[in-house]
Point group: C2
Chain length 191, copies 2
Amino acid sequence: MALEHAILITLEERPSSGYELARRFDRSVGHFWAATHQQIYRTLKRMSEIRWVTSHEVPGEGRPLRKVYEVTDEGRDEFVRWLSENGEPAPYRQEIAVKLRGASLGSLPTLIAEFTRHRDLHAGWVAAFRRMEQRDFPDPASLTGRRLHHYLVLSGGIQSEEMLFAWCDQVVAALERELSGTSSQSAAAAG
Amino acid sequence: MALEHAILITLEERPSSGYELARRFDRSVGHFWAATHQQIYRTLKRMSEIRWVTSHEVPGEGRPLRKVYEVTDEGRDEFVRWLSENGEPAPYRQEIAVKLRGASLGSLPTLIAEFTRHRDLHAGWVAAFRRMEQRDFPDPASLTGRRLHHYLVLSGGIQSEEMLFAWCDQVVAALERELSGTSSQSAAAAG
DNA sequence: CCCTGGGCTGCAACTAGTTGCATATGCGCC
DNA sequence: GGCGCATATGCAACTAGTTGCAGCCCAGGG
């Protein structure tokens, strides 16, 4: 149940409509807690019902009506309570590792292609996060308070994507060696 | 939907009962795809119904009856099909990062304690995985085929836990500096 | 005037995972 | 004989996330 709290802290930083929240999740919040607009709207509704947030309608200027949400005192108290609650790391699940575990039943070139794609996706995330880092935190050593916290969150995201990139790269290299070794062995056996 | 395939590849390696599967998940499979025994039993039932696995009962010796499952040809075909299906990295979700993002609303010492606990949990995983690596793959450079794949899966788990350990350590150090800087500033302000 | 696309809200039905719990067999010990 | 624990199986009800879809407002361009 961290989506509620991710939304609460995001609204605490700046009241927003559901649509704006979805946009903020796509740009930054979603880098540490991903959520779709359907989840966000449903969760906003539920939090309205239990009075963790309140909303008011804002007429757009040349735009449709917007419902802007903000955190109530109860919502803030709930977030503070949750901060002090002991959490556990989530169970680990990595679909591509399941594929790798069962690689011998499939086609090496296909799995190499899959890992190459994932490696490139992660490389893209690394690059995007690094640009974000350069833009928002050019001098990390000088950071304090909230900006330090935000920087540390981004740093975690960067390290995670870098690790996944490096691992996929290691796997691609190893499987390619296996493929060329097997092909050589097959050629030698056939020759 | 990778649990089905994690179970299929695990049974392909060695037919097992639900209870044995749960044990194997606790020891190794669960390091890349975590699952509880309730999930495993339910998924075994469903895969029996769609004939991806079949089961037969085996009387225990001084033990209760066991239902041993094995993969059918259809189940094997489904796994191979799934191997060639393009997957996407899962959306990223890290509860403790949400807490860090909202750290300014809470107590720094409490958050430091939380990150310290997580760091130590990850350190424990690193140590356990390293022992597993030493025991099962003392000479990684010589590996080929299935054993190479299994090793690469474990390597990914190790790198992931190491990254989480390093990140939590970085956060603890930064928050402790902040705490002591704030305390010094508070003391100076009060003095 | 109509169409398209962006802005904006939101629901139903589903899957995947979790929590809580139940039941039975068998063995060893008190 | 009963208790506790390990072995072994499995369900119901719930939460969290996903998929698929629906609908409305507004502006701009053809």
